[in-house]
Amino acid sequence: MSLISRWLDETVEFWHRRRDRNLRWELNRQNDVRELRYAKAMAEQALVSQLKKQAQQLAHELAVSKTKNVNELAMVKVQCRQELKDYQQYLQSLDRLKDSLRDSYAHLPEAVAFTIHHHAKQLLNRMWEAEEGPEKMKVEMQLLQFMAAVHEDSRAALQDESKDGLPQNALAFIDADAELKVIR
């Protein structure tokens, strides 16, 4: 019986020693634990404030880009409408050019008028589809020169200067353009 009692006493003593050791360890580490908790709380607070600031910034950026986009879209729509109108006016002016050519040359075959008009339309489309820059400028100049050549032919025909009844300048322009294409 005394053996069991001694064994129990030793066990209880061991238990107490262990508890004391744990308690001492906790007391020693109390400051560290407090500091750690404080640092954790501070870090959490800093993170929350940083996230809040970031969210505000993002929301602001979103609102600004929405406003900007609405304005830009409206501008692009107006620009596109204007471009379409310009294109239509170009087509109408080319139609008028063809009519004036037919008026100037009484016996001009429709095929020649069609070829001249078709070439002008091709130049117009090339100009429209070219990227902004020197290429577009070049095609635009070509179109203007071609239209000037056609006008010159019409004027010459009206003044009865043309010899064989065909718009020579315009046809020469088309030939030169075709040769240039072949060389390329």
Binding site: E44, V48, L73, L84, A111, F114, N125
Partner: protein, 176 residues
């Protein structure tokens, strides 16, 4: 806390096993009355400790759920989710903006093409009418089969909207 309770319950299980072992030893050595005393005690201890372990497991699961929920609805997690949602909204908005721009340009291109096609059709019709007139004027000069072939080629070219082909048909008419 959970760990401490878990340890105690494991100790109780071990105790129950030891009691079973002791009961077995007593039964083997002829002390049956002790074995009869120890077996029910050991089984009850084992039952109680295993039940408590099960309960502890349920509590641990509930505790884990609760702590996860606290973490999920915590201020930092909510802030982070808010930032992410704004970031995704911004990205979605840029994509939508790009698609709206593309749509506007596509519509513009389509309308321009429609204008061009209408204009081409008008001038092709004029050209067709003129060539048709020229062909009709030469109807009696051409062999009947050739006239028919030319007329057919002319109509086909017109239907196809092929200006080059119309002009080549005209070339054939003029050359005759």
């Amino acid at each position: 806390m959970f760990a401490r309770i878990f340890q105690i319950l494991l100790l109780l299980c071990a105790l129950a096993m030891l009691l079973f072992l002791a009961g077995f030893v007593f039964a083997q050595t002829g002390m049956v009355f002790l074995a009869v005393l120890l077996f029910p005690l050991a089984s009850k201890i084992l039952l109680v400790s295993l039940s408590a372990l099960g309960l502890l497991a349920v509590l641990a699961v509930l505790w884990a759920c609760w702590s996860e929920m606290r973490r999920y609805f915590g201020r930092d997690a909510r802030g982070l989710r808010h930032v992410w949602s704004l970031y995704h909204k911004q990205r979605a908005f840029s994509r939508r903006q790009l698609s709206e721009w593309r749509q506007i340009h596509y519509k513009n291109h389509f309308k321009r093409q429609r204008l061009l096609v209408a204009n081409n059709r008008k001038h092709l019709q004029t050209l067709f009418d003129e060539i048709d007139k020229e062909l009709s004027a030469k109807k009696h000069q051409l062999p009947r089969a050739h006239y028919k072939a030319l007329h057919k080629a002319l109509r086909r070219s017109h239907q196809r909207g092929d200006a080059q082909s119309l002009l080549s048909v005209r070339g054939e008419i003029v050359c005759r």
